[in-house]
Protein backbone atom coordinates (compact mmCIF):
# COMPACT_ATOMS: atom_id res chain seq x y z
CA UNK A 1 0.00 0.00 0.00
CA UNK A 2 1.60 3.22 -1.04
CA UNK A 3 2.15 5.49 1.89
CA UNK A 4 1.04 8.73 0.38
CA UNK A 5 1.44 11.53 2.81
CA UNK A 6 -0.93 14.35 2.16
CA UNK A 7 -0.93 17.44 4.16
CA UNK A 8 -3.41 20.20 4.62
CA UNK A 9 -2.24 23.55 5.74
CA UNK A 10 -4.91 25.82 7.01
CA UNK A 11 -4.24 29.43 7.69
CA UNK A 12 -5.79 30.63 10.90
CA UNK A 13 -8.55 33.03 10.07
CA UNK A 14 -11.76 34.42 11.46
CA UNK A 15 -14.92 32.90 10.10
CA UNK A 16 -17.39 35.65 9.61
CA UNK A 17 -20.30 33.45 10.55
CA UNK A 18 -19.02 32.23 13.87
CA UNK A 19 -16.20 34.65 14.51
CA UNK A 20 -13.74 32.37 16.22
CA UNK A 21 -10.12 31.49 15.70
CA UNK A 22 -9.16 28.01 14.70
CA UNK A 23 -5.60 26.89 15.10
CA UNK A 24 -3.96 23.93 13.50
CA UNK A 25 -3.06 21.11 15.80
CA UNK A 26 -0.03 18.95 15.28
CA UNK A 27 -0.74 15.28 15.72
CA UNK A 28 1.19 12.86 13.62
CA UNK A 29 -1.22 9.98 13.45
CA UNK A 30 -0.55 6.51 12.33
CA UNK A 31 -3.08 3.96 13.43
CA UNK A 32 -1.80 0.67 14.71
CA UNK A 33 -4.95 -1.35 14.21
CA UNK A 34 -5.77 -0.51 10.65
CA UNK A 35 -3.56 -0.14 7.61
CA UNK A 36 -4.12 3.29 6.20
CA UNK A 37 -2.82 4.43 2.90
CA UNK A 38 -2.99 8.13 3.62
CA UNK A 39 -1.89 10.19 6.55
CA UNK A 40 -2.77 13.70 7.39
CA UNK A 41 -0.45 15.97 9.15
CA UNK A 42 -1.74 19.30 10.30
CA UNK A 43 1.11 21.69 10.61
CA UNK A 44 1.48 24.26 13.32
CA UNK A 45 3.95 26.52 14.99
CA UNK A 46 4.45 24.21 17.98
CA UNK A 47 5.50 21.01 16.41
CA UNK A 48 6.73 19.67 19.71
CA UNK A 49 3.33 19.48 21.38
CA UNK A 50 2.17 16.18 19.95
CA UNK A 51 5.51 14.57 19.43
CA UNK A 52 6.92 14.28 22.91
CA UNK A 53 4.84 11.34 23.95
CA UNK A 54 4.87 9.54 20.60
CA UNK A 55 6.70 6.34 19.91
CA UNK A 56 9.70 6.00 17.65
CA UNK A 57 7.38 4.99 14.83
CA UNK A 58 6.24 8.55 14.43
CA UNK A 59 9.74 9.96 14.39
CA UNK A 60 9.82 9.10 10.71
CA UNK A 61 6.64 11.09 10.19
CA UNK A 62 7.86 14.04 12.18
CA UNK A 63 10.86 14.55 9.91
CA UNK A 64 8.54 14.78 6.93
CA UNK A 65 6.22 17.06 8.83
CA UNK A 66 8.95 19.57 9.43
CA UNK A 67 10.15 19.63 5.85
CA UNK A 68 6.73 19.97 4.27
CA UNK A 69 5.68 22.55 6.78
CA UNK A 70 8.46 24.86 5.68
CA UNK A 71 7.64 24.79 2.02
CA UNK A 72 3.91 25.06 2.50
CA UNK A 73 4.16 27.99 4.84
CA UNK A 74 6.37 29.72 2.31
CA UNK A 75 3.87 29.08 -0.47
CA UNK A 76 0.84 30.17 1.48
CA UNK A 77 2.23 33.38 2.80
CA UNK A 78 2.29 34.77 -0.73
CA UNK A 79 -1.43 35.50 -1.13
CA UNK A 80 -4.62 34.21 0.42
CA UNK A 81 -4.55 30.54 -0.45
CA UNK A 82 -7.38 28.33 -1.48
CA UNK A 83 -10.82 29.11 -2.75
CA UNK A 84 -14.02 29.95 -1.01
CA UNK A 85 -17.06 27.78 -1.27
CA UNK A 86 -20.16 26.52 0.47
CA UNK A 87 -20.37 23.21 2.28
CA UNK A 88 -22.42 21.42 -0.35
CA UNK A 89 -19.97 22.62 -3.00
CA UNK A 90 -17.13 21.27 -0.91
CA UNK A 91 -18.86 17.91 -0.76
CA UNK A 92 -19.39 18.02 -4.50
CA UNK A 93 -15.75 18.86 -5.08
CA UNK A 94 -14.62 15.96 -2.95
CA UNK A 95 -17.05 13.67 -4.75
CA UNK A 96 -15.96 14.84 -8.17
CA UNK A 97 -12.28 14.49 -7.39
CA UNK A 98 -12.81 10.95 -6.20
CA UNK A 99 -14.94 10.05 -9.20
CA UNK A 100 -12.22 11.38 -11.49
CA UNK A 101 -9.54 9.51 -9.65
CA UNK A 102 -11.25 6.13 -9.46
CA UNK A 103 -13.65 4.96 -12.17
CA UNK A 104 -15.31 2.53 -9.80
CA UNK A 105 -16.84 5.28 -7.67
CA UNK A 106 -20.52 5.80 -8.35
CA UNK A 107 -23.41 7.60 -6.69
CA UNK A 108 -26.93 6.41 -6.21
CA UNK A 109 -29.88 7.95 -4.51
CA UNK A 110 -33.17 9.71 -5.03
CA UNK A 111 -33.05 12.70 -7.35
CA UNK A 112 -29.24 12.73 -7.54
CA UNK A 113 -29.03 12.57 -11.30
CA UNK A 114 -31.18 14.82 -13.42
CA UNK A 115 -32.50 16.85 -10.52
CA UNK A 116 -28.98 17.48 -9.25
CA UNK A 117 -29.51 16.30 -5.72
CA UNK A 118 -32.03 17.67 -3.28
CA UNK A 119 -29.29 19.74 -1.64
CA UNK A 120 -27.34 20.26 -4.85
CA UNK A 121 -24.47 18.07 -3.76
CA UNK A 122 -24.50 16.07 -6.99
CA UNK A 123 -25.42 18.91 -9.31
CA UNK A 124 -23.88 18.56 -12.75
CA UNK A 125 -22.39 15.16 -12.04
CA UNK A 126 -24.94 13.20 -14.06
CA UNK A 127 -24.22 15.30 -17.12
CA UNK A 128 -20.51 14.68 -16.66
CA UNK A 129 -20.43 10.99 -15.74
CA UNK A 130 -23.61 9.64 -17.24
CA UNK A 131 -26.87 8.30 -15.93
CA UNK A 132 -25.53 4.96 -14.80
CA UNK A 133 -22.72 6.31 -12.70
CA UNK A 134 -24.93 8.90 -11.02
CA UNK A 135 -28.03 6.81 -10.69
CA UNK A 136 -31.54 8.07 -10.03
CA UNK A 137 -33.30 5.49 -7.94
CA UNK A 138 -36.96 5.02 -7.15
CA UNK A 139 -38.21 5.86 -3.70
CA UNK A 140 -37.20 2.50 -2.27
CA UNK A 141 -34.43 2.97 0.26
CA UNK A 142 -34.19 -0.65 1.26
CA UNK A 143 -33.84 -1.72 -2.34
CA UNK A 144 -31.25 0.74 -3.51
CA UNK A 145 -29.17 0.42 -0.38
CA UNK A 146 -29.16 -3.30 -0.97
CA UNK A 147 -28.26 -2.70 -4.59
CA UNK A 148 -25.34 -0.52 -3.60
CA UNK A 149 -24.09 -3.09 -1.12
CA UNK A 150 -24.27 -5.76 -3.77
CA UNK A 151 -22.39 -3.51 -6.16
CA UNK A 152 -19.74 -2.93 -3.51
CA UNK A 153 -19.34 -6.64 -2.99
CA UNK A 154 -18.50 -7.10 -6.65
CA UNK A 155 -15.97 -4.30 -6.88
CA UNK A 156 -17.66 -0.92 -7.26
CA UNK A 157 -17.42 1.82 -4.66
CA UNK A 158 -20.91 3.26 -4.37
CA UNK A 159 -22.02 6.27 -2.44
CA UNK A 160 -25.56 6.02 -1.22
CA UNK A 161 -27.34 9.29 -0.71
CA UNK A 162 -30.34 9.36 1.55
CA UNK A 163 -32.42 12.40 0.80
CA UNK A 164 -32.86 12.76 4.50
CA UNK A 165 -31.23 10.54 7.07
CA UNK A 166 -34.61 9.59 8.44
CA UNK A 167 -35.44 7.78 5.23
CA UNK A 168 -32.54 5.43 5.77
CA UNK A 169 -34.47 3.85 8.62
CA UNK A 170 -36.21 1.90 5.88
CA UNK A 171 -32.84 0.54 4.89
CA UNK A 172 -31.82 -0.39 8.43
CA UNK A 173 -31.86 -4.07 7.65
CA UNK A 174 -29.49 -3.58 4.75
CA UNK A 175 -27.19 -1.33 6.74
CA UNK A 176 -27.08 -3.50 9.79
CA UNK A 177 -27.11 -7.00 8.39
CA UNK A 178 -25.47 -6.61 5.04
CA UNK A 179 -23.35 -3.51 5.22
CA UNK A 180 -22.05 -4.00 8.72
CA UNK A 181 -21.79 -7.73 8.97
CA UNK A 182 -21.08 -9.18 5.56
CA UNK A 183 -17.35 -8.77 5.86
CA UNK A 184 -17.50 -10.83 9.01
CA UNK A 185 -20.04 -13.41 8.00
CA UNK A 186 -18.30 -14.09 4.73
CA UNK A 187 -15.03 -14.73 6.50
CA UNK A 188 -13.37 -11.68 5.00
CA UNK A 189 -14.18 -12.62 1.43
CA UNK A 190 -16.37 -9.65 0.69
CA UNK A 191 -15.61 -6.09 1.54
CA UNK A 192 -18.21 -3.36 1.41
CA UNK A 193 -16.54 -0.03 0.67
CA UNK A 194 -19.77 1.97 0.62
CA UNK A 195 -20.34 5.49 1.84
CA UNK A 196 -23.80 6.21 3.14
CA UNK A 197 -24.37 9.90 3.43
CA UNK A 198 -27.24 12.25 3.91
CA UNK A 199 -28.47 15.22 5.87
CA UNK A 200 -29.94 14.63 9.25
CA UNK A 201 -30.59 16.64 12.33
CA UNK A 202 -33.15 19.23 13.30
CA UNK A 203 -33.78 21.77 10.57
CA UNK A 204 -36.18 24.68 10.41
CA UNK A 205 -39.60 23.29 11.12
CA UNK A 206 -39.25 20.15 9.08
CA UNK A 207 -41.48 18.12 11.35
CA UNK A 208 -40.90 15.08 13.48
CA UNK A 209 -40.10 12.50 10.82
CA UNK A 210 -37.67 14.66 8.86
CA UNK A 211 -35.64 15.83 11.84
CA UNK A 212 -34.22 12.58 13.07
CA UNK A 213 -30.75 12.00 14.37
CA UNK A 214 -29.81 8.52 13.33
CA UNK A 215 -26.32 8.44 14.75
CA UNK A 216 -27.76 7.00 17.94
CA UNK A 217 -29.48 4.17 16.13
CA UNK A 218 -26.53 3.23 13.96
CA UNK A 219 -23.84 3.42 16.58
CA UNK A 220 -24.32 -0.14 17.80
CA UNK A 221 -23.96 -1.75 14.41
CA UNK A 222 -20.65 -3.57 14.38
CA UNK A 223 -18.51 -3.20 11.32
CA UNK A 224 -19.36 0.32 10.25
CA UNK A 225 -17.66 3.62 10.86
CA UNK A 226 -19.49 6.86 11.46
CA UNK A 227 -18.25 10.39 10.91
CA UNK A 228 -19.98 13.73 11.14
CA UNK A 229 -18.80 16.75 9.20
CA UNK A 230 -19.30 20.30 10.31
CA UNK A 231 -17.31 22.67 8.11
CA UNK A 232 -16.60 22.75 4.39
CA UNK A 233 -12.98 21.87 5.12
CA UNK A 234 -13.74 18.71 6.99
CA UNK A 235 -16.74 17.87 4.79
CA UNK A 236 -14.52 17.57 1.74
CA UNK A 237 -11.73 15.81 3.61
CA UNK A 238 -14.02 13.33 5.30
CA UNK A 239 -15.92 12.64 2.09
CA UNK A 240 -12.70 11.76 0.32
CA UNK A 241 -11.44 9.69 3.21
CA UNK A 242 -14.75 7.86 3.43
CA UNK A 243 -14.72 7.02 -0.27
CA UNK A 244 -11.16 5.75 -0.06
CA UNK A 245 -11.86 3.71 3.02
CA UNK A 246 -12.35 -0.02 2.60
CA UNK A 247 -14.90 -0.09 5.42
CA UNK A 248 -18.52 1.00 5.18
CA UNK A 249 -18.69 4.58 6.39
CA UNK A 250 -21.75 6.59 7.30
CA UNK A 251 -21.19 10.31 6.79
CA UNK A 252 -23.63 12.45 8.74
CA UNK A 253 -24.26 15.89 7.37
CA UNK A 254 -26.65 18.46 8.78
CA UNK A 255 -29.53 20.14 6.93
CA UNK A 256 -28.75 23.58 8.27
CA UNK A 257 -25.02 23.50 7.58
CA UNK A 258 -25.16 23.19 3.81
CA UNK A 259 -24.77 26.90 3.20
CA UNK A 260 -21.72 27.50 5.36
CA UNK A 261 -19.01 29.35 3.50
CA UNK A 262 -15.33 28.79 4.08
CA UNK A 263 -12.00 29.06 2.37
CA UNK A 264 -10.45 25.66 1.71
CA UNK A 265 -7.05 24.79 0.25
CA UNK A 266 -6.62 24.31 -3.46
CA UNK A 267 -4.40 21.30 -3.08
CA UNK A 268 -5.77 17.87 -2.48
CA UNK A 269 -6.18 16.80 1.12
CA UNK A 270 -7.74 13.84 2.84
CA UNK A 271 -8.63 13.87 6.50
CA UNK A 272 -8.29 11.04 8.93
CA UNK A 273 -11.59 9.29 9.59
CA UNK A 274 -10.85 8.46 13.19
CA UNK A 275 -9.48 11.79 14.29
CA UNK A 276 -11.14 14.53 16.27
CA UNK A 277 -10.58 18.20 15.58
CA UNK A 278 -9.35 20.63 18.18
CA UNK A 279 -11.43 23.72 17.54
CA UNK A 280 -10.26 25.88 20.40
CA UNK A 281 -7.63 24.89 22.92
CA UNK A 282 -8.31 25.85 26.50
CA UNK A 283 -7.68 25.14 30.14
CA UNK A 284 -10.81 25.00 32.24
CA UNK A 285 -13.26 22.60 30.70
CA UNK A 286 -13.40 20.25 27.72
CA UNK A 287 -16.46 20.64 25.57
CA UNK A 288 -17.03 17.74 23.19
CA UNK A 289 -19.41 18.29 20.33
CA UNK A 290 -20.06 17.48 16.69
CA UNK A 291 -21.98 18.74 13.67
CA UNK A 292 -24.26 21.72 14.18
CA UNK A 293 -23.80 21.91 17.93
CA UNK A 294 -20.23 23.00 17.26
CA UNK A 295 -21.55 26.39 16.25
CA UNK A 296 -23.78 26.68 19.28
CA UNK A 297 -20.79 25.79 21.43
CA UNK A 298 -18.57 28.36 19.76
CA UNK A 299 -21.22 30.98 20.29
CA UNK A 300 -21.42 30.02 23.94
CA UNK A 301 -17.62 30.03 24.08
CA UNK A 302 -17.59 33.70 23.16
CA UNK A 303 -19.79 34.45 26.15
CA UNK A 304 -17.72 32.20 28.36
CA UNK A 305 -14.48 33.90 27.39
CA UNK A 306 -16.03 37.23 28.28
CA UNK A 307 -16.88 35.83 31.66
CA UNK A 308 -13.38 34.60 32.22
CA UNK A 309 -13.61 30.92 31.41
CA UNK A 310 -11.30 29.17 28.98
CA UNK A 311 -13.14 26.25 27.38
CA UNK A 312 -11.40 23.73 25.21
CA UNK A 313 -13.67 22.82 22.32
CA UNK A 314 -13.18 19.58 20.46
CA UNK A 315 -15.25 18.58 17.45
CA UNK A 316 -15.19 14.84 17.81
CA UNK A 317 -15.98 14.25 14.13
CA UNK A 318 -15.52 10.53 14.40
CA UNK A 319 -18.63 9.14 16.06
CA UNK A 320 -17.59 5.53 15.85
CA UNK A 321 -14.88 4.88 16.98
CA UNK A 322 -14.31 7.80 19.31
CA UNK A 323 -10.94 9.48 19.15
CA UNK A 324 -10.10 8.72 22.76
CA UNK A 325 -6.52 9.81 22.22
CA UNK A 326 -7.38 13.46 21.64
CA UNK A 327 -10.25 13.37 24.10
CA UNK A 328 -8.08 11.71 26.75
CA UNK A 329 -5.32 14.26 26.41
CA UNK A 330 -7.86 16.98 26.82
CA UNK A 331 -9.46 15.39 29.87
CA UNK A 332 -6.08 14.94 31.48
CA UNK A 333 -5.48 18.65 30.99
CA UNK A 334 -8.78 20.15 32.08
CA UNK A 335 -10.37 17.46 34.32
CA UNK A 336 -13.89 18.55 33.42
CA UNK A 337 -16.02 17.39 30.54
CA UNK A 338 -19.16 18.77 28.99
CA UNK A 339 -20.73 16.98 26.05
CA UNK A 340 -23.04 18.97 23.82
CA UNK A 341 -24.91 17.05 21.20
CA UNK A 342 -28.04 17.10 19.15
CA UNK A 343 -28.86 13.43 19.70
CA UNK A 344 -31.55 12.26 22.07
CA UNK A 345 -30.79 11.95 25.72
CA UNK A 346 -31.46 8.25 25.84
CA UNK A 347 -28.88 6.16 24.11
CA UNK A 348 -27.35 8.95 22.08
CA UNK A 349 -23.77 9.57 21.13
CA UNK A 350 -23.35 11.58 24.30
CA UNK A 351 -24.44 8.68 26.42
CA UNK A 352 -21.87 6.37 24.82
CA UNK A 353 -19.19 9.01 25.06
CA UNK A 354 -19.96 9.57 28.73
CA UNK A 355 -19.62 5.87 29.41
CA UNK A 356 -16.40 5.69 27.41
CA UNK A 357 -14.77 8.58 29.19
CA UNK A 358 -15.89 7.36 32.57
CA UNK A 359 -14.41 3.95 31.92
CA UNK A 360 -11.11 5.15 30.61
CA UNK A 361 -10.39 8.43 32.32
CA UNK A 362 -12.26 8.23 35.58
CA UNK A 363 -9.22 9.11 37.66
CA UNK A 364 -8.68 12.30 35.78
CA UNK A 365 -12.15 13.72 36.27
CA UNK A 366 -12.79 16.31 38.94
CA UNK A 367 -16.52 16.50 38.35
CA UNK A 368 -19.18 14.24 36.87
CA UNK A 369 -19.51 14.46 33.12
CA UNK A 370 -22.39 16.69 32.06
CA UNK A 371 -24.14 15.78 28.84
CA UNK A 372 -26.45 18.26 27.14
CA UNK A 373 -28.62 16.66 24.53
CA UNK A 374 -31.97 17.00 22.87
CA UNK A 375 -35.19 16.15 24.58
CA UNK A 376 -36.55 12.63 24.20
CA UNK A 377 -39.52 13.88 22.21
CA UNK A 378 -40.42 13.85 18.54
CA UNK A 379 -39.28 17.15 17.10
CA UNK A 380 -42.22 19.56 17.14
CA UNK A 381 -43.30 21.55 14.13
CA UNK A 382 -43.84 24.78 16.04
CA UNK A 383 -40.71 26.92 15.85
CA UNK A 384 -40.51 27.83 19.52
CA UNK A 385 -41.04 24.26 20.68
CA UNK A 386 -38.45 23.06 18.20
CA UNK A 387 -35.91 25.42 19.71
CA UNK A 388 -36.68 24.00 23.11
CA UNK A 389 -35.80 20.49 22.04
CA UNK A 390 -32.33 21.48 20.86
CA UNK A 391 -29.52 22.69 23.11
CA UNK A 392 -29.14 26.48 22.98
CA UNK A 393 -25.98 28.47 23.72
CA UNK A 394 -27.45 29.91 26.91
CA UNK A 395 -27.84 26.43 28.34
CA UNK A 396 -24.26 25.60 27.43
CA UNK A 397 -23.01 28.68 29.25
CA UNK A 398 -25.07 27.79 32.31
CA UNK A 399 -23.78 24.23 32.30
CA UNK A 400 -20.14 25.32 32.06
CA UNK A 401 -20.59 27.78 34.90
CA UNK A 402 -22.10 25.12 37.04
CA UNK A 403 -19.41 22.62 36.13
CA UNK A 404 -16.58 24.95 36.92
CA UNK A 405 -17.68 25.93 40.37
Amino acid sequence: MAAAIMQGVRATKDLSSANYKRSCFATPRSLPERKRSSFVIHCDGNLTSGLNNSSSRSVRLSANAVSTKQENVAASTASKPGHELLLFEALREGLEEEMDRDPRVCVMGEDVGHYGGSYKVTKGLAAKYGDLRVLDTPIAENSFTGMAIGAAMTGLRPIIEGMNMGFLLLAFNQISNNCGMLHYTSGGQFKIPVVIRGPGGVGRQLGAEHSQRLESYFQSIPGIQMVACSTPYNAKGLMKAAIRSENPVILFEHVLLYNLKERIPDEEYVLNLEEAEMVRPGEHVTILTYSRMRYHVMQAAKTLVNRGYDPEVIDIRSLKPFDLYTIGNSVKKTHRVLIVEECMRTGGIGASLTASINENFHDYLDAPIVCLSSQDVPTPYAGTLEEWTVVQPAQIVAAVEQLCQ
Binding site: H114, Y115, D136, P138, L372, Q375, V377, W388
Partner: protein
Amino acid sequence: MGTAEWRAAKSPAYYKRGDYVPGLKVDGMDALAVKQACKFAKEHALKNGPIILEMDTYRYHGHSMSDPGSTYRTRDEISGVRQERDPIERIRKLILSHDIAAEKELKDIEKEVRKEVDEAIAKAKESPLPDPSELFTNIYVKGLGTESFGADRKELKAVLP
Protein backbone atom coordinates in the same frame (compact mmCIF):
# COMPACT_ATOMS: atom_id res chain seq x y z
CA MET B 1 -39.63 14.40 -5.93
CA GLY B 2 -38.17 15.40 -9.25
CA THR B 3 -37.84 12.05 -10.97
CA ALA B 4 -40.54 11.11 -13.46
CA GLU B 5 -42.39 7.91 -12.67
CA TRP B 6 -41.35 6.24 -15.91
CA ARG B 7 -37.71 6.84 -14.94
CA ALA B 8 -38.18 5.47 -11.48
CA ALA B 9 -40.04 2.29 -12.24
CA LYS B 10 -39.71 -0.16 -15.08
CA SER B 11 -43.39 -0.98 -14.93
CA PRO B 12 -45.32 2.21 -14.18
CA ALA B 13 -48.71 0.47 -14.29
CA TYR B 14 -48.76 0.31 -10.53
CA TYR B 15 -52.32 -0.95 -10.27
CA LYS B 16 -51.29 -4.15 -12.07
CA ARG B 17 -48.45 -4.93 -9.72
CA GLY B 18 -50.50 -6.35 -6.91
CA ASP B 19 -50.04 -9.93 -8.13
CA TYR B 20 -53.23 -11.57 -7.01
CA VAL B 21 -54.65 -8.38 -5.51
CA PRO B 22 -56.74 -6.82 -8.31
CA GLY B 23 -56.24 -3.17 -9.15
CA LEU B 24 -58.16 -0.28 -10.57
CA LYS B 25 -56.73 2.85 -12.13
CA VAL B 26 -58.85 5.96 -11.71
CA ASP B 27 -58.53 9.46 -13.10
CA GLY B 28 -57.91 11.20 -9.82
CA MET B 29 -58.72 14.63 -11.23
CA ASP B 30 -62.32 13.67 -11.92
CA ALA B 31 -64.25 13.89 -8.69
CA LEU B 32 -67.22 11.84 -9.86
CA ALA B 33 -65.00 9.07 -11.19
CA VAL B 34 -63.21 8.91 -7.86
CA LYS B 35 -66.54 8.65 -6.07
CA GLN B 36 -67.72 5.78 -8.27
CA ALA B 37 -64.41 3.98 -8.02
CA CYS B 38 -64.39 4.19 -4.23
CA LYS B 39 -67.96 2.91 -4.09
CA PHE B 40 -67.06 -0.02 -6.30
CA ALA B 41 -63.87 -0.71 -4.36
CA LYS B 42 -65.69 -0.72 -1.06
CA GLU B 43 -68.22 -3.25 -2.29
CA HIS B 44 -65.50 -5.37 -3.81
CA ALA B 45 -63.33 -5.27 -0.72
CA LEU B 46 -66.11 -6.24 1.60
CA LYS B 47 -67.00 -9.19 -0.59
CA ASN B 48 -63.74 -10.38 -2.13
CA GLY B 49 -60.79 -8.95 -0.27
CA PRO B 50 -58.24 -6.23 -0.93
CA ILE B 51 -58.17 -4.13 -4.07
CA ILE B 52 -55.60 -1.55 -5.19
CA LEU B 53 -56.80 1.86 -6.29
CA GLU B 54 -54.32 3.89 -8.33
CA MET B 55 -55.53 7.48 -8.46
CA ASP B 56 -53.81 9.43 -11.20
CA THR B 57 -53.56 13.04 -10.00
CA TYR B 58 -51.32 15.99 -10.79
CA ARG B 59 -49.22 18.04 -8.43
CA TYR B 60 -49.28 21.76 -9.33
CA HIS B 61 -46.67 23.02 -6.92
CA GLY B 62 -43.26 21.74 -5.97
CA HIS B 63 -42.88 18.97 -3.42
CA SER B 64 -41.48 21.06 -0.60
CA MET B 65 -39.91 24.41 0.22
CA SER B 66 -36.70 23.50 -1.56
CA ASP B 67 -38.41 22.35 -4.73
CA PRO B 68 -39.69 25.06 -7.08
CA GLY B 69 -41.46 22.47 -9.19
CA SER B 70 -40.30 23.89 -12.47
CA THR B 71 -36.84 22.39 -12.94
CA TYR B 72 -38.16 19.12 -14.29
CA ARG B 73 -41.27 20.23 -16.18
CA THR B 74 -42.45 23.24 -18.16
CA ARG B 75 -44.84 25.85 -16.88
CA ASP B 76 -46.96 25.24 -19.97
CA GLU B 77 -47.52 21.69 -18.83
CA ILE B 78 -48.68 22.86 -15.43
CA SER B 79 -51.07 25.49 -16.77
CA GLY B 80 -52.30 23.07 -19.42
CA VAL B 81 -53.30 20.53 -16.83
CA ARG B 82 -54.86 23.23 -14.75
CA GLN B 83 -57.07 24.24 -17.67
CA GLU B 84 -58.09 20.81 -18.84
CA ARG B 85 -58.07 18.48 -15.88
CA ASP B 86 -58.63 20.66 -12.87
CA PRO B 87 -61.25 18.81 -10.76
CA ILE B 88 -63.11 21.83 -9.48
CA GLU B 89 -63.31 23.46 -12.90
CA ARG B 90 -64.70 20.27 -14.33
CA ILE B 91 -67.45 20.08 -11.75
CA ARG B 92 -68.25 23.74 -12.32
CA LYS B 93 -68.60 23.20 -16.06
CA LEU B 94 -70.84 20.17 -15.49
CA ILE B 95 -73.06 22.08 -13.09
CA LEU B 96 -73.41 25.00 -15.48
CA SER B 97 -74.02 22.91 -18.55
CA HIS B 98 -76.71 20.83 -16.84
CA ASP B 99 -78.34 23.95 -15.35
CA ILE B 100 -78.15 22.63 -11.82
CA ALA B 101 -77.15 26.04 -10.51
CA ALA B 102 -76.59 29.47 -11.92
CA GLU B 103 -73.22 31.18 -12.29
CA LYS B 104 -74.09 33.64 -9.54
CA GLU B 105 -74.81 30.93 -6.98
CA LEU B 106 -71.46 29.33 -7.61
CA LYS B 107 -69.73 32.68 -7.18
CA ASP B 108 -71.55 33.20 -3.88
CA ILE B 109 -70.39 29.82 -2.62
CA GLU B 110 -66.84 30.72 -3.59
CA LYS B 111 -67.01 34.04 -1.78
CA GLU B 112 -68.34 32.42 1.34
CA VAL B 113 -65.67 29.76 1.38
CA ARG B 114 -62.95 32.32 0.77
CA LYS B 115 -64.21 34.36 3.70
CA GLU B 116 -64.17 31.31 5.93
CA VAL B 117 -60.60 30.47 4.97
CA ASP B 118 -59.43 34.05 5.45
CA GLU B 119 -60.99 34.18 8.89
CA ALA B 120 -59.33 30.93 9.84
CA ILE B 121 -55.94 32.24 8.67
CA ALA B 122 -56.38 35.46 10.63
CA LYS B 123 -57.37 33.57 13.74
CA ALA B 124 -54.41 31.23 13.36
CA LYS B 125 -52.01 34.12 13.02
CA GLU B 126 -53.35 35.78 16.13
CA SER B 127 -53.17 32.65 18.24
CA PRO B 128 -50.18 32.35 20.52
CA LEU B 129 -47.41 29.89 19.85
CA PRO B 130 -47.53 26.79 22.03
CA ASP B 131 -46.21 26.91 25.53
CA PRO B 132 -42.99 24.99 26.21
CA SER B 133 -44.85 22.72 28.59
CA GLU B 134 -46.58 21.24 25.55
CA LEU B 135 -43.32 19.66 24.54
CA PHE B 136 -44.22 16.54 26.45
CA THR B 137 -47.91 16.14 25.71
CA ASN B 138 -48.97 13.04 23.86
CA ILE B 139 -45.64 11.26 23.98
CA TYR B 140 -47.13 8.31 25.80
CA VAL B 141 -50.77 7.34 26.01
CA LYS B 142 -50.74 6.26 29.59
CA GLY B 143 -48.28 8.21 31.60
CA LEU B 144 -45.24 6.74 33.22
CA GLY B 145 -45.17 9.41 35.89
CA THR B 146 -41.52 10.01 35.10
CA GLU B 147 -39.93 13.39 35.32
CA SER B 148 -38.45 14.95 32.25
CA PHE B 149 -35.85 17.67 32.36
CA GLY B 150 -34.77 20.41 30.08
CA ALA B 151 -31.53 20.25 28.24
CA ASP B 152 -29.51 21.39 31.26
CA ARG B 153 -31.51 19.42 33.81
CA LYS B 154 -32.88 22.60 35.36
CA GLU B 155 -35.32 24.34 33.10
CA LEU B 156 -38.46 22.86 31.70
CA LYS B 157 -39.30 20.25 34.23
CA ALA B 158 -42.41 18.31 33.46
CA VAL B 159 -43.98 15.21 34.83
CA LEU B 160 -45.14 13.08 31.97
CA PRO B 161 -48.85 12.57 32.61
